[in-house]
Symmetry: C2
Subunit: 76 residues, 2 copies
């Protein structure tokens, strides 16, 4: 079973990586970029029988810092 | 317009971040994690009229190192 977790900084939390990418895109001549947020994606290859609940626990305990980050789980 | 870009290390490229996450999950008692790959996700807020081709150019020029990374574009 495959699971994909997206971890993004919550709205309102300063995202210096995203700001740097936005600046660099502007410097390269890409206009019309109004905002950039950068996060992490973690692809997990899990034994059969793993549940979304377990993946949620992994996020809470390790993958995301839930004070400043939110996460989304996709199960394939 | 919103675009989301996933940048992952290509298969066969060593992923030390993913390996560290796999090890840490095991240490926390999560069994059955057979593999972990970690990548980046970049959310772009673009002016209307931007095209997937433009986002592809951004990936080629800045967002991904195409020697070792592959990218996927999702347009919302």
């Amino acid at each position: 079973m495959k699971a994909r977790v997206h971890v993004m900084l919550k709205d309102g939390v300063l995202d210096p990586q995203g700001a740097a990418v936005k600046h660099a895109l502007g410097a390269l001549g890409f206009d019309g970029v109004d905002g950039v947020r950068q996060g992490k994606v973690i692809e997990l290859d899990l034994a059969d029988g793993a549940t979304e609940t377990q993946v949620g626990e992994m996020c809470e305990k390790l993958l995301a810092n839930t004070v400043i980050e939110s996460y989304e789980i996709e199960i394939d």
